[in-house]
């Protein structure tokens, strides 16, 4: 008996010491900055989404093909024939990190808060008639008019319709409590955010995919300097590193410990035009700008290698449901003489065309430099306003001080998430025909019909020069060779990440 007890005890000790079952698996992720809030409802920053998607969940989410699938909802909603009533069944048995059970009152209150404080929620608040708990596990959203992008908005992880316990809801949430597979264990600003597995997590349905909670811990480390992220990845300090400089590609590819992850394509650089005030309110001026831009040269200057960009005028790349080439014959004209003719027609008086940009993203600045040369060849007087990001973020909201500002966006799963199409945006592209197309686009519920309307919208954006898409660009991330099961995404998730020994 004594012998057996001793044996059992020694086996237990041996297991504890040697078995990988007991080894804590930690995934270290280098991100570009510190998330300043854990409430994704009030922020539209990608850095906030990347971290909080592990902690806080929404009713719906996107699958690998960017289709909306249920997450905290039990199923897709029942939508009334007029497209105005969404009845959403909720999953039962879901618990928050504080141990309380999620019910319809929590969901209704959270979505109501979203319509009140989130930018994307506020943008459609006037379309929402009511958000009510209509059963213990059912919530009904009633709209004033049919609005097809609603589900995409409810699924998106930035300015997210996050679901919180009703009790913690306030204008400002000090400590967000979610239902996600991980919860926040500790956080030291500018040093790390430590997430640990949430044991009470219940898996969503098959459509959303399993969130296996493979790592015991996920640590997000803000590393603002891109080169330091590269060194950290190559030295084995990080298992994953976000947004790396493209010059580092070859070095990472040659490394024994890490490999490059290319998000192809990641997004689109945009020359946003000021439709509210100044030169670009004149259609002929806008056409002159459109005709003058040497897109190939701009992309080459910005990204250096064809591995990292594609010259493509379609607002969504090939392979996406929204892909269409409508209107793209006006893309990449690169004809400065033609641009000069438009200027002549506009009666251009030589007042400066103000390009607002910063070097926060070096590719913005490089594209602006090349564009400025071509625009000057066409006869424009160009004024480059190169400022730091904080100044740009303020100045772009003041229509009196810029004509073009440079930005970029990842390809968003639903075109209606791109604010620049809307006349209420800071660019203020307010064209009657475009507004009519957009209204049809947001109210149409049939997916096939929506694709056709989107083609009309894209064609109109080219014809009326609502905005200027420059091309597609790829983003470079990097991961340790041992790391598996992290899908490339602008918002990479690590709940399935595993590390080979």
């Amino acid at each position: 008996m004594i012998l057996r007890t001793c044996l059992a005890a020694s086996t237990a000790i041996a297991l504890t010491a040697g078995s990988p079952l007991f080894a804590q698996e930690v995934v270290n992720v280098a991100i570009i900055g510190d998330p300043d809030t854990f409430d994704p409802m009030v922020s539209t920053k990608d850095i906030v989404s990347i971290v909080t998607q592990h902690v806080i969940e929404t009713l719906y989410t996107f699958d690998e093909e960017w289709s909306v699938v249920p997450l905290l909802a039990a199923d897709m909603p029942a939508i009334s024939d007029d497209g105005k009533t969404y009845t959403i069944p909720l999953r039962e048995g879901v618990t928050f990190h504080d141990g309380s059970a999620m019910d319809s009152a929590d969901v209704a209150a959270s979505v109501q808060r979203w319509a009140k404080v989130a930018s994307r929620g506020m943008a459609i608040a006037d379309k929402i008639a009511s958000i009510e708990a209509t059963g213990p596990a059912e919530v009904t959203i009633t709209l004033n008019e049919s609005y097809a992008p609603l589900l995409s908005l409810l699924a998106f992880s930035n300015s997210a319709a996050a679901i919180y316990p009703e009790e913690i809801l306030a204008d400002q949430i000090e400590k967000p409590v979610g239902t996600g597979p991980y919860k926040v264990e500790s956080r030291v600003p500018d040093q790390y955010t430590q997430l640990v597995r949430f044991d009470g997590y219940t898996q969503p349905g098959d459509a959303a995919g399993e969130r296996a909670q493979t790592p015991d811990e996920i640590r997000f480390v803000p590393v603002p300097d891109p080169n330091t992220r590269v060194e950290g990845l190559l030295s084995g300090q990080f298992d994953y590193a976000d947004s790396l400089p493209t010059e580092a590609y070859d070095r990472i590819a040659a490394s024994d410990v890490a490999e490059p992850v290319l998000l192809e394509p990641f997004g689109w650089p945009i020359f946003a035009l000021n439709h509210k005030e100044g030169l670009a309110t004149d259609l002929n001026i806008r056409r002159a700008i459109q005709a003058a831009l040497p897109v190939d040269d701009m992309l080459f200057a910005a990204f250096g290698d064809e591995k990292f960009f594609q010259t493509d005028g379609a607002f969504y790349p090939e392979g996406w449901a929204w892909y269409t080439d409508a209107g793209t014959d006006l893309y990449n004209i690169n004809d400065q003489a033609k641009a000069a003719e438009y200027l002549e027609e506009a009666g251009y008086d030589g007042s400066p065309l103000r390009i607002l940009t910063s070097r926060q993203y070096e590719f913005h600045y490089k594209m602006a430099e090349v564009a400025a040369m071509a625009l000057e060849m066409a006869g424009f007087t160009v004024q480059m306003d190169v400022v730091d990001w904080a100044t740009l973020a303020q100045n772009r909201d003041n229509p009196a001080v810029w004509d073009i500002y440079i930005t970029h966006s990842p390809f968003l799963p639903e075109p209606a998430l791109t604010s620049i199409f809307f006349s209420s945006s800071r660019e203020g592209w307010d064209n009657a025909e475009k507004n009519e197309i957009l209204a049809r686009f947001t109210s149409e519920t049939d997916p096939q019909a929506r694709k056709e309307v989107f083609a009309e919208l894209q064609a109109k954006a080219y014809e009326d020069v609502g905005l200027l898409k420059i091309g597609n660009f790829n983003a470079l991330h990097g991961k340790a060779k041992a790391l598996d099961s992290v899908s490339p995404s602008p918002w990479p998730a690590f709940w399935n990440a595993s590390k080979a020994d």
Partner: protein, 313 residues
């Protein structure tokens, strides 16, 4: 002596007050709005405005200044807009890496610079003298970010001798944290050793030519005693001055080195605060740095008393 100290203290208060006021004005002269940065790219102007009101950024500048001044007098430097914590707390959490980095790199600089400086002066014109001066010029000319990048790439990433960046991460103990400072300290130490080396050499050269040194030798003292006891002690004042200034410079945040090695120190904090337009943190850091600067200067002056009996205040 007492009146000297009093004069210095009054001077210090005036300097800190001026810095405080200038800091307040300058950060607000720069364009850029903390509220729109906090909310992200797709925030609406209405949202930005309501956050401005909540943060008190909509109040008249004079009211903001007077509130800031009144609070600062009570040791309250305000609340960080980004961290939503008191500035004093934020600064305190950043002091450790900066102070130890300053101390270690000063140590590295002294270990490199003093022996070589003394030796170079003693063997003036020799190969060692020439080489040390050239190397010092070279070390001073290479910016610390380049030295840092080179060290990081070859010593940390390729050879794996040191951690590449950071400050140890979750729950790191004191030893681990200090281990993360080794490479940054060597980087900074090398850059800063050049100035100390040149000062030591120049100061020693002057002294070694003095009459009393010749007298000491004539009395039959060992060379070692002549150089280290008689000469070095008297060459001390300029060396102490430059060491004090270097330390003050290092403590105010080795911005570039902290950035390259991703250290959560004051230098990194102030750069991030500027980019985030976190006004209270920028002001707070400037006040603390200005205070440290004048304090270190005062301490350096007092140290003269201990080193050289001829100095009287």
């Amino acid at each position: 002596m007492r009146s000297y100290l009093l004069r210095r203290l009054v001077g210090m208060i005036i300097v800190v007050f001026l810095v405080l006021t200038l800091a307040f004005i300058l950060v607000r002269l720069a364009p850029g709005d903390p509220a729109s940065l906090l909310l992200g790219p797709d925030a609406t102007p209405e949202e930005v405005q309501s956050l401005r009101v909540r943060l008190g950024l909509d109040r008249p500048i004079l009211v903001q200044y007077l509130t800031f001044l009144a609070n600062a007098l009570q040791g309250d430097l305000g609340r960080s807009l980004f961290f939503d914590r008191p500035v004093t707390e934020v600064l305190a959490s950043r002091a450790e890496p900066t102070i130890f980095l300053a101390l270690f790199s000063l140590l590295v600089a002294l270990v490199i610079a003093t022996p070589i400086g003394i030796w170079a002066a003693y063997r003036r014109g020799s190969v060692l003298d020439q080489t040390s001066i050239t190397t010092a010029m070279l070390a001073a000319s290479v910016p610390s970010f380049l030295t840092g990048l080179i060290f990081q790439r070859y010593l940390a990433t390729d050879l794996g001798w040191f951690p590449a960046s950071g400050y140890g991460g979750v729950g790191a103990d004191f030893g681990t944290r200090m281990w993360h400072l080794v490479l940054p300290s060597i980087t900074l130490g090398i850059t800063n050793s050049a100035l100390i080396l040149r000062f030591t050499r120049a100061s020693m050269l002057d002294i070694l030519g003095e009459d009393y040194v010749r007298t000491a030798r004539a009395k039959g003292m060992t060379e070692r005693r002549v150089v280290l006891r008689h000469a070095l002690k008297n060459a001390g004042i300029p060396i102490i001055t430059v060491v004090g200034l270097t330390f003050a410079l290092l403590i105010s945040g080795a911005v570039v080195t902290e950035r390259v090695f991703n250290l959560p120190g004051m230098g990194n904090l102030v750069v991030n605060a500027v980019l985030r337009r976190d006004y209270p943190v920028i002001q707070g850091t400037l006040i603390v740095v200005a205070t440290l600067y004048v304090l270190v200067n005062l301490l350096t002056d007092l140290l003269y008393l201990a080193v050289d009996k001829r100095v009287k205040y």
